[in-house]
Symmetry: C2
Subunit: 360 residues, 2 copies
């Protein structure tokens, strides 16, 4: 695999131009680019500019509205439902998280469910908006059905990530940002490219037999929930995926389960929708609604230090604090640039030529 490395600013400006060509406002194009770039900076390559052509294809199919009228359609002091008006999730999600943060400033907490949206990038971006205000940030989204619940061979849930972010004192925020499937689709794609087998417990074939073939999903197979099989707690991964689906979509009026519209534009959305678009869920809670911020941060620092210094099985592998590797990647890539595989660069340059913007 060949990697080409680009300065953050070059990719950011390229990405903004693509969103402007789609008809986004300058503000929205900058915001959407910021969400995608943060993913590349944090080392989550599967959710950054590599997905840019995917968003453009959805826009070409008129499944993404580049100038949405995003608004609150239902609310109380600390809860709200937001209608994304089929906008980019990259723009709808920060809008909704800001509603949660504003409510938390006044009442201690804020909770927002979102319908009629699209893929929102990395969950961590949105949760981290809250930590900047000394709040705990929570974000979730449902997604295209790829995961079979325990005992089933039907794809009924997305990889439905949940994310919790906590601000620390001396250390970067603790960010738990995880798909509720055993393995994220991105890991499968890496194995597909190198044609290598995958561990048992990630996927099953169309008949529900555990498989180590990374191409199984193209042949009617499905991802397995976190846990893998019943003996190893797959009912828990399924339960977490269900929780994300209900909070994001049953609560807001978005599509849920197998009705969630696919991210890939070559697949049509179900013809019998049960709601509008895909759904998200956000929360913000003020730390000082529970105890003084300085006390919380001092204890979270202590928590971090205790876990970092834990005895390890293999001396070369220390216990990782959730969010630590992404923070390290962000520092490194801000300084040294973002590596992209050549296939992604070619893809982006084809897009540039189609849209009439300068190639990378």
């Amino acid at each position: 695999m060949i990697f080409l490395t680009f300065p953050e600013q070059q990719l950011r400006s390229f990405t903004e131009q693509v969103f402007l060509k789609m008809g986004c406002s300058v503000k929205d194009a900058q915001l959407a680019a910021d969400v995608l770039l943060r993913s590349d900076l944090r080392g989550i390559d599967s959710h950054g500019v590599a997905r840019l052509t995917g968003y453009v294809r959805l826009w070409e199919k008129k499944r993404i509205n580049a100038s949405p009228d995003i608004k609150i359609v239902h609310e109380t002091a600390t809860t709200a439902t937001v209608d994304g008006d089929a906008g980019l999730g990259l723009v709808v999600a920060p809008f909704a998280m800001k509603v949660a943060i504003e409510k938390a400033k006044i009442y201690g907490s804020g909770w927002v469910s979102v319908k009629n949206s699209n893929h929102f990038g990395i969950a961590g971006y949105h949760s981290l908006l809250a930590t900047e205000h000394d709040m705990i940030g929570i974000s979730m989204t449902n997604a295209s059905p790829l995961v079979a619940p325990t005992y089933s061979n039907e794809r009924l849930l997305g990889t439905n990530p949940m994310c919790y972010a906590f601000p620390a004192g001396k250390y970067p925020p603790v960010v738990v940002d995880m798909a509720t499937a055993a393995a994220a689709n991105g890991k499968l794609e890496i194995a597909q490219r190198s044609n290598s087998s995958i561990p048992e417990g990630w996927v099953q074939d169309k008949n529900g037999v555990i498989s180590t073939n990374p191409h199984e999903l193209k042949d009617g197979g499905s991802l397995l929930p976190l846990g893998g099989d019943k003996d190893h707690g797959s009912h828990k991964g399924y339960g977490l995926g269900a929780t994300v689906d209900i909070l994001s979509a049953v609560l807001s009026g978005a599509n849920y389960g197998p009705w969630v519209p696919p991210f890939v534009a070559f697949l049509e959305p179900p013809s019998d929708p049960v709601g509008e678009g895909i759904g998200h869920f956000f929360g913000a809670m003020r730390i000082d609604g529970f105890r003084p911020v300085a006390d919380f941060k001092a204890h979270l620092d202590n928590w971090i230090e205790r876990f970092q210094s834990a005895k390890t099985v293999d001396p070369s592998k220390k216990v990782i604090i959730p969010g630590e590797p992404e923070y390290a990647a962000e520092k490194d890539r801000k300084a040294n640039g973002i590596p992209l595989i050549d296939a992604v660069v070619n893809d982006l340059n084809d897009l540039a030529s189609k849209l009439g913007i300068e190639a990378l």
Copy 2:
């Protein structure tokens, strides 16, 4: 194994008498017995009256205060920290959930972190208090350290359960109630009694080698997080356990990580506490803070029906809705009584003779 079956009312009255002998008020004794009995009714035998002697032993060691002054020590409109005054978690937790519910009635949502508490029974009991008000109920607790984070062979986290409960229309509530470890301790105990081997991925020995020996924990081994090993997503189970620990204890001022006091009275709590007692976290959100209750329930019913009718790998095993088996057990055991194994009955009768109450 020999089972003896008792009518719910007999066990309830026995349990109340035990708590009265500990010095609980009539109201607290009834409430604590209700939490334990609900666990037995719902088929979660490990968390019901089988634990009664454990609570008594903690009380004998003066680690449980039978007449606590439970109070709010910090709050905003929608957030609060509760000090449990070393009371029974079975009494402290419903108090805290009620604070969350009262806040939600006024402001749409309520969130309560708890310090200085003890084991609270099943998380589902507390979440279900919210569904009775057409709210979503959330409950979590940290617990005695038994789980090693990914790459470590040190026990730093409890089985730290998280629970989400959603009220449905035609169907019982959807209740996701799960330990964030690969397997709950109760499952291990069953294998210990029958001396049978356990699946790989539940425990490791003291050196961090995966083991199928159910007795491994007695020899310095540890439970593994949901996922089992890194390849199968154990960093996610560890991240969820960490989330529960931070929300329950770092946020409230309880002990966290390896400082959580053990449930078993024969082990002393750490001599260098970082907080008070163990911690819990509760949330309540009004459904009608997001959309009309009838709409939510109709869609949740539709969600349930779609998942119940999913294609299955083995025709004899249908997809289970989270909370469905516990609801069925509750119906059955209310009508037909609660089966207890003879070892538990003997244990309870020894307790009865010691406290001077009538045997079962």
